[in-house]
Symmetry: C2
Subunit: 205 residues, 2 copies
């Protein structure tokens, strides 16, 4: 198949495989089979193999996948083989938690700038980052930051997104509970934790 018409669901699963590979590496394992991997991530083994097959043949018949090699390949596909500089906008409860979150590091993300509009926060150092005035957002461009996290109140999210686009940001992870509109070339994922909680009751007896 090799690199055409890749299901978006496959792309969604790739980071999950990568996360599992990190865990296996920490356990000093060196190889893993598709069925071994399938147990960790709760995806069928044929689905695992199919997902990888869209990009090439990474495994060895009879023994499985080399963990380091597979992790390298997935990182490359996801463009995580180079580190990414990320900005955070909104240093409230959620924003601060995101700043402190250690889970971004293994994927090569560095939060290098944080912005807020609250004068009490501007200039303060939070989890190692000095909070800047939100009016300085345009400075992102010269800092070569192309990803941003939005953790501002719902009412400000759309406006902030537009400023981020103007400042050259190409991808946005939006934590505010609202769909934000941006030009098609910009990619946005929205995480609304209430949305996920809201569909739990449907599934419970």
């Amino acid at each position: 198949m090799r690199y055409r018409n890749i299901p978006s669901e496959t792309i969604r699963r790739l980071p999950i495989y990568l996360r599992a590979l990190h865990i296996l590496k920490r356990q000093n394992k060196t190889t893993i089979s598709s069925s071994g991997l399938s147990e960790i991530v709760a995806v069928n083994s044929w689905q695992v193999r199919k997902d990888f097959s869209y990009f090439g043949a990474f495994g060895k018949r009879g023994s499985g996948y080399d963990i380091d090699e597979l992790a390298k390949q997935i990182s490359k596909i996801l463009k995580l083989h180079t580190r990414h500089r990320v900005a955070l906008v909104g240093v409230g409860n959620l924003g601060s938690a995101v700043l402190a979150y250690p889970g971004f590091e293994p994927y090569g993300f560095d939060i290098v700038a944080a912005y807020d509009s609250d004068p009490k926060k501007i200039g303060k150092k939070i989890h190692g980052i000095t909070v800047e005035n939100i009016s300085e957002l345009r400075g992102l461009r010269k800092d070569k930051i192309d990803l941003a996290l939005i953790a501002v109140p719902e009412s400000a999210a759309q406006q902030i997104a537009e400023q981020l686009v103007k400042a050259g940001v190409k991808g946005i992870l939006n934590f505010s509970p609202r769909h934000i509109q941006v030009p098609k070339r910009i990619k946005v994922f929205t995480i609304d934790i209430a949305m996920d909680l809201a569909r739990l009751p449907f599934y419970i007896a």
Copy 2:
């Protein structure tokens, strides 16, 4: 069609429609067409209509949907018409932010208990909730709590999940970066914010 073979994607979208209806209500609107709704949520108008049609005919031809009525219907489908009592396990950076998050309220969720293992936190009041010792988890059953949020470190998540299941919890929203295994009757959604950030670079030029 009426209530059989409902796409899980439809269920995923229902809370998004509900969120949009809340916004419209705050704007004092009383009716909305499928195309009006489609603009807010970024879903095609025929998809909106199709999604509702799985459950019945809620609209009026010529004028659209009554906002209050539609919100009531969706709430009922999602079983959000009664309020839900929710427990939080893990009151670290992320857990505290979740406790402070105002976005659960409109969907009828009340976080009524919080647990941690850190003796420095136990007994303290955080965002209005007194943190209890994690060894008291079994008390959930008599408190009629059937939903839980897990915001503990990765290494503790599986064990906490098992304790929650023993305590009678039926649905779990897991913020730890690991797939957790539970009996099939229990529903788990995992939100790993690093996973979503990790697929952004793939999509940007």
